[in-house]
Amino acid sequence: MASRAELSRFLADVERRAFKQAVFAVRDDDAALDIVQDSMMRLAEKYGDKPNEELPMLFQRILQNAIRDYYRRSRTRMEHFTSLSALEGDGEDPADPLETLELDDEINPFATPHTALLQAETLNLVEEALQNLPPRQREAFLLRYWEGLDIAETAAAMGCTEGSVKTHCSRATHTLAAALESKGIRP
C-alpha cells in the first residue's frame, strides 16, 4: 500500500507532465489544471491504498478518462477531429521521414550547443506537432514514451488492445517526424 509520502512523491513527479498532457489535449491551461486536479483527487480517494507500482497506470487511466470526459462536454471536439483526420493517413505514405532522418547525437539540437532561443523554438514546434496529432495517437505516444508505461500498461490505461497501442505509437511517431521535418527540425 502506498504511504502518504509515496503518493506525494508520485504525484509530485507526474503532475507537470500530466498538466502538459492535458494542455496538449484540451488547449486550455485552466481546463487542464482542473483535469489534473480532479485526477489527483480521484486517485487519492479511490486508489490511495493501492501498491506504489500500480499508481502510474491507474493515474494515467484516470487522467485519460478525464480528458475524454472533457472532450465529450466540449462541442469543439468535432472540429478538432475533422481538421486532423487527414493526418491519420492509411499507412501507405511513400515518403517515410523516419527512413531518411538521421538520429546521430551530432544533429540532436540538445546534444550540441544551441542558443536558448533555438531550444525554445524547438520545444514550441514539438508541442505544436503533438497538439495536432489525433487524440488517440497522442495519448498512446505520451503514455508509452513520455510516461514510460509498457505496451500492456498503455493498453490498459487507454482501454484498447496492445496491437492498437503499437499502431497508434507508430503512426504518431511517423506523423511527428513528418511534421517536424516540414518545419526544418531534424531529430
Partner: protein
C-alpha cells in the same frame, strides 16, 4: 532500441524541458491540488485485535476482498478456536490428575471421605468445629 523508439525518446527529452519551464502560478496550483488530494487519501483500516486470526483479509477494502483469502482467514480462526478448546481441556485433566494422585498417595484411604461418621468426627475434633 528501434529507430522509431529512439526518435520518440528524443522528442520526450525536448518535452521534459517544457515541464521545467512552467509558470510559477501553474506549479503552485499543481502543488495545492496535490496537497488537497493527499488529504483525501483512501487508507485501508486494519483492526490489530484480529490480525493474528487473519483479520487483515477480512477487514480489507472492497477491492482487496478475495474468496480464497477470506476462506483462509476463517480457517485460521477456526483452527485457533479448536486449539484453544483442546488446550483448556488438557489443563483441566492435568489438575484432576494431580488431585487423584494426592488422594491415592495419602495415608487416609479415599473411602474415608465418603464415611459420614468420619466427616462428623472431623467437624467435632477440628479447631473450627469447637
Amino acid at each position: 532500441m528501434s529507430r522509431e523508439e529512439q526518435f520518440a525518446r528524443q522528442l520526450c527529452r525536448v518535452l521534459d524541458r517544457g515541464t521545467v519551464e512552467l509558470d510559477h502560478g501553474i506549479t503552485e496550483r499543481l502543488r495545492a491540488a496535490r496537497e488537497r488530494a493527499l488529504q483525501h487519501q483512501h487508507v485501508t483500516l486494519v483492526s490489530p485485535a484480529i490480525v493474528g486470526a487473519g483479520g487483515t483479509a477480512l477487514m480489507g477494502s472492497d477491492d482487496d476482498r478475495h474468496p480464497l483469502r477470506t476462506g483462509l482467514a476463517i480457517l485460521a480462526l477456526l483452527l485457533g478456536v479448536s486449539l484453544s478448546y483442546y488446550w483448556n481441556g488438557f489443563s483441566q485433566a492435568s489438575e484432576n490428575e494431580a488431585i487423584d494422585s494426592a488422594l491415592l498417595a495419602d495415608d487416609l484411604p479415599p473411602n474415608a471421605y465418603l464415611d459420614k461418621g468420619f466427616q462428623a468426627w472431623l467437624e467435632k475434633d477440628s479447631p473450627a468445629g469447637q
